[in-house]
Amino acid sequence: MAEQGIVHLFPKGAGEAPAVEPQLRALEAILFASSEPVSEAELQGRLPEGSNCSELLGALEQLYADRGVNLTKVAKGWAFRTSPDLAHLMAREVVEQRRLSRAAQEMLAIIAYHQPVTRTEIEEIRGVATSRGTLDLLIEIGWVRICGRRQAPGRPVTYGTNDAFLEHFSLDRVSDLPGIDELAASGLLEKTVAPVLQRDDDETPADDEGDDEKLDRIYLDTDIEAEAGG
């Protein structure tokens, strides 16, 4: 029953002493966590004094030869790489989580709190012209939908949030959105907000467009930049 952990589980060439074990473990961890290939010189420096680095690398390489992950030597040094025959599995990795740009966050907030709301009203509240792409993006994500039309000259389209929005934000209904006052009271937000954002506030100045837009651009996330530009 002298099953020496890795000696047993990870087969290797005959004649190797079990004393190599801790050094192999160390090597394994270092190579795994490093964000780029590690040179042999650096590995030697990080391993315990007296380790024979190239011998260890050879052993590790052999150990992982048939695995889903292989130890490979690349230009800059050594690195673990998934086995080439499994490359097809790598392509289907997780969807990337991306944050909304500030502009998109703001627009979503306005739509959520003021729905149904028209595009012109959104722009009035934001005080800047809205790039078409931002609204499109919110619709594409599936959080914003067209609600209907305002009974007003031009019968503009109104926007609101939908079920996917509620689900994403774990809300039962729109009225469950946290109130500004409440959040301000809990110290999460500054309390200088409320009055400007009432809908009857029709004369919100939409001038200074140019300047604010420029500011916006600075804060825009790159992805939205692309969206907005296109």
């Binding site: 490093s34 790598m90 934000f169 500004i180 999460l188 500054e190 954002l197």
Partner: protein, 271 residues
């Protein structure tokens, strides 16, 4: 506590900055974080199980501590004084247990509740250190440093309620050209009174004289009026919201308050 924050990074959040915050300098009495923390420290000095501490001795030690700091003319935050007032009252109940017909407060019960609060805080302290001493990602254990994921440009957009609210607040700020108000602490605001009452009374089901909260511990010469006014105002407000019940048995008699309880007869809420 309504002064607006003009920088997002609060100075007292990170360990090394704690001492530099002026707000903390007031609150931080000899390094204690609030009255309950101070009490807990005193309780530990009794070197017995927290469930078996002498609350009476504890109250006395706390009051002594507060007295000492008052004579040193240190500015003590309201929280400490509210607790002092409360403990002074508790002490009187423990020493002279003679409940009137109107007042079913039992000193021992209040003392026991206090002991439980201390245990709870201590438990959270322990939990906090257990948590912080776990093997933490990026400190003790590490993830794959060079993930080999071929990311397909399929994005799941991610936003939180916090993002939404922040965005909304940002909008308001931009159009409101916010003005920075810096409030001085010379007044005990209605808000502060309210919070203090809620915090202290949160778990007290017994009719308790309102004056407990307006005792000499709270009222120094400079802020006597504001404490009386705000305390009274806040209690009315809380009563209106159903978070507190008020009772006064005769004109100019002591104003009694307690937390509403579903099982209790709803006390008259005339102030």
């Amino acid at each position: 506590m309504m002064e607006s924050r003009n920088n997002k990074q609060q100075p007292d959040l990170w360990e090394e900055d704690v001492r530099q915050s002026p707000e903390m300098l007031v609150v931080d009495v000899d390094g204690f974080e609030g009255p309950l923390d101070l009490l807990l420290d005193l309780a530990r000095a009794q070197k017995v199980d927290l469930a078996k501490i002498s609350v009476l001795a504890l109250a006395e030690q706390y009051l002594l501590f507060i007295e000492r700091h008052r004579t040193l003319k240190l500015e003590l935050a309201g929280d400490y004084l509210v607790m002092a007032a409360w403990l002074a009252y508790l002490k009187s109940r423990l020493l002279l247990p003679e409940p009137t017909e109107d007042d079913d407060t039992i000193g021992e019960e209040l003392a026991a509740a206090l002991a439980v609060r201390l245990q709870r805080l201590e438990a959270m302290r322990k939990a906090s250190s257990l948590l912080m001493n776990r093997d933490r990602l990026g400190r003790d254990i590490f993830a794959r440093g060079e993930p080999e994921i071929r990311i397909e440009r399929k994005s799941a957009y991610q936003a939180t309620l916090y993002d939404l609210l922040s965005a909304y607040a940002r909008l308001g700020r931009r159009s409101a050209q916010s003005v920075v108000h810096v409030t001085k602490r010379a007044v005990w605001s209605l808000g502060e009174a309210r919070e203090a009452l809620l915090r202290m009374m949160g778990d007290v089901a017994e009719w308790t004289p309102m004056t407990v909260f307006l005792s000499p511990y709270l009222v120094t010469a400079q802020i006597r009026r504001t404490v009386m006014a705000s305390g009274f105002g806040a209690s009315l407000e809380l009563a209106r919201e159903g978070k507190l019940e008020l009772r006064q048995s005769w004109t100019f008699g002591p104003l009694m308050i307690r937390t509403p309880a579903s099982g209790h007869d709803r006390g008259a809420t005339n102030g």
